[in-house]
């Protein structure tokens, strides 16, 4: 996912739907996020481009809702319920994911392996 400033971002994304789990008073998703436009992108271990300030999944609780839905560590979250996550602050991303009146979040995530899978499938089946 190369990011050229001024140009629209294109990426191959996977749609993941996570049902929030109720634990006491909170609704949890079972993963941790890092990144944001107010954070230091050089510290991100998962991004290819060290100037990428997007939101990344840094940790998944094993057996949690995110794990079961198919989210993987290192995924970059592009959208949450239709809201853009590529140019948000860390706190805004957290707020979008933890809205109390939503029981389900629909994420669009991207990872390196998706691109390669698409390339392989396109290469395997030549255009007709």
């Amino acid at each position: 996912m190369s990011f050229v400033p001024g140009q629209p971002v294109t990426a191959v994304v996977q749609r993941i739907e996570i049902q929030k789990l109720r634990q006491g008073d909170n609704l949890i998703l079972g993963f941790s996020i890092g990144g944001g436009i107010d954070q230091d992108p050089g510290q991100n271990p998962f991004s290819e481009d060290k100037t990428d300030k997007g939101i990344y999944v840094t940790r998944i609780t094993p057996g949690g809702p995110a794990d079961e839905a198919g989210l993987r560590m290192g995924d970059k979250i592009m959208q949450v319920n239709g809201w853009d996550m590529t140019m948000v602050t860390h706190d805004r991303a957290r707020k979008r994911l933890t809205k109390k009146n939503e029981g389900v979040v629909r994420l669009l995530v991207t990872r390196k392996s998706l691109e390669e899978a698409v390339k392989q499938s396109m290469g395997g089946c030549p255009r007709q």
Binding site: S32, Q39, N44, H90, T98
Partner: protein
């Protein structure tokens, strides 16, 4: 009362002839007062405008009716000039005379009581020692070594007691308080009872039975002096030490312009607290300047002057009280509906005034600095110069004063301070500054800001007669929420007290080695 709000003890001096006008105003001139237009430079300042008519003075009322516009054009109504007497002054002086006679009687009475008590206290031990020698000298046992040692002890203890009493009680009285000082009265009664009981015992057991044991008598006298020293210790604790620990925070507000100060006081009676507050007042509060209050009064007069109420119904319809009530209600309603632009005027007037003050201040500063450059201190080796050139500070001040006099006068008039400073006092201050090598800025400071009342001349201390107005008894102690008033002729000080809360402090220990830090790599939030 109307008189209290519009009277002041001071007047404006006309700017042109400061010295000569002082002696001119002997009687109250009934001039038509002109409005003080402070915008134009050539305006006429008010000399001695007439005050409101005295009660029952028909001659004045007659003159007042002729002048229809009197209420409309006045912007500042002041009292009389300094050298004429107004009704208020006469009332004040007679009250002073009455009170001072009464107060002096009381003061002399307490003074004589104190002197009698003191003599009684000091002569009692000496009497105890001397009387046996006078009454039954032949039967008395001779005084041995220990006994004579006790003589020395009595002598020195009496000397210490004398010095201590002189230090604590023989100080010039600071003030005359309305009620008796409770602790002093209690102590006097205690000492009296004490001495009387000792005399009783002495009279019954020693004089009547004519005891021969002289050493016992001397020891008795020593015990009396010891006990007196302890009573003196009690006096120190009750009178001086008890109120040192701050217990109440009092807030003092001046009623005319809202100046507020806060002080910490200990456990005092209301009258002693009032005295302490007054002593702080003279040092901390800026001097009361009635000229600064005239603007708001004129605005208030304008608000009321614009509305006139007519009673359309027949004269006998409503009761007097109901009529007044409905009239005032009608006035309030009409005033609320009226489109009032006085706030606009106030804003522009204040901006204009500030600009003018700053301009005059700039001119003044430049003039003073230039004046100060004309003189310099004469060095030792220049003493050979002609003695005609050499001046003492007073002459030097008189030499450079004319160059700054006009600028200073204009500035004082703009800031309405001209009655606080006379030419004489300004020249004295200038001589003082020159003598002590002060800079022009140091000389000007006392004119640029209004200082505390102590800074000004004696006649500004006119209000030395204060009245304490309080709902609680003035000898009762200060409590949380006590409110009392200190009234003087021109204004009053409103005092409220609050108790200083009990502070509960706890400790927390931090190990110096526990200050450790890590770098924040990236914040990670779990959702």
């Amino acid at each position: 009362m109307d008189t209290e709000s519009t009277y002041s003890g001071y007047s404006y001096y006309s700017g042109r002839s400061r010295g000569s006008h002082r002696h001119g105003e002997r009687s109250r001139d009934r001039h038509k007062s002109r409005s003080k237009d402070s915008r134009s430079e050539k305006s006429v300042t008010i000399n001695t405008p007439p005050a409101e008519p005295l009660l029952g003075d028909s001659a004045v009322r007659g003159e007042q009716i002729q002048d229809d516009n009197w209420g409309e054009t006045t912007t500042a109504v002041t009292g009389t000039s300094e050298h004429s007497l107004s009704q208020e002054d006469i009332v004040r002086i007679t009250k002073d005379l009455e009170d001072s006679v009464g107060l002096d009687c009381r003061r002399y009475f307490t003074l004589t009581l104190a002197v009698i008590l003191g003599l009684l206290v000091f002569l009692t031990p000496l009497a105890f020692l001397v009387l046996p020698h006078l009454l039954w000298p032949e039967r008395l046992q001779s005084c041995g070594t220990a006994c004579e040692g006790l003589f020395i002890s009595v002598a020195f203890k009496l000397l210490i007691l004398l010095l201590a009493v002189w230090a604590l009680f023989f100080r010039p009285p600071r003030a005359g308080l309305p009620r008796v000082f409770v602790f002093r009265a209690l102590l006097a009664v205690l000492v009296l009872l004490f001495v009387v009981s000792y005399w009783l015992f002495y009279g019954v057991r020693i004089l009547d039975s004519q005891d021969e044991n002289y050493q016992g008598i001397v020891q008795y006298a020593v015990s009396l002096v010891d006990a007196l020293l302890f009573i003196h210790y009690l006096a120190i604790v009750l009178l001086e030490l008890r109120q040192l620990q701050p217990c109440f925070s009092v807030c003092v507000t001046r009623s005319t312009d809202g100046e507020m100060r806060h002080y910490n006081l200990g456990q005092l009676s209301i009258q002693r607290a009032a005295l302490a507050i007054l002593e702080h007042y003279y040092c901390d509060f800026p001097v009361h300047n009635p000229a600064l209050l005239s603007a708001s009064k004129s605005r208030a007069a304008k608000h009321l002057a614009g509305l006139k109420v007519y009673n359309v119904d027949g004269p006998g319809n409503n009761a007097a009280a109901g009529l007044a009530h409905s009239q005032s209600r009608a006035m309030i309603a009409a005033a609320a509906r009226r489109r009032d632009t006085s706030h606009n005027e106030l804003y522009y007037e204040e901006a204009e005034h500030e600009r003018r003050v700053r301009k005059r201040k700039a001119r003044l500063v430049v003039a003073v600095e230039e004046a100060f450059t004309h003189i310099k201190r004469m060095q030792e080796e220049e003493q050979k110069k002609a003695p005609g050139d050499v001046m003492d500070p007073r002459e030097a001040a008189q030499a450079i004063f004319p160059s700054m006099a006009r600028a200073l006068q204009k500035y004082l008039r703009t800031t309405k301070q001209q009655h606080c400073h006379s030419m004489e006092s300004i020249q004295q201050h200038l001589a003082f500054c020159i003598t002590n090598n002060m800079t022009p800025k140091a000389f000007l400071e006392s004119y640029l800001t209004p200082g505390p009342t102590l800074q000004y001349s004696r006649d500004h201390w006119l209000a030395r007669q204060w009245t304490l107005i309080s709902e609680a008894s003035v000898t009762s102690g200060l409590k949380d929420g006590t409110i009392f008033l200190l009234k003087c002729v021109d204004f009053s000080l409103v005092v409220t007290s609050k108790k200083i809360p009990y502070i509960q402090m706890s400790e927390e220990y931090i190990d110096p080695k526990s200050h450790k830090f890590v770098l924040r790599l990236q914040s990670e939030t779990s959702v």
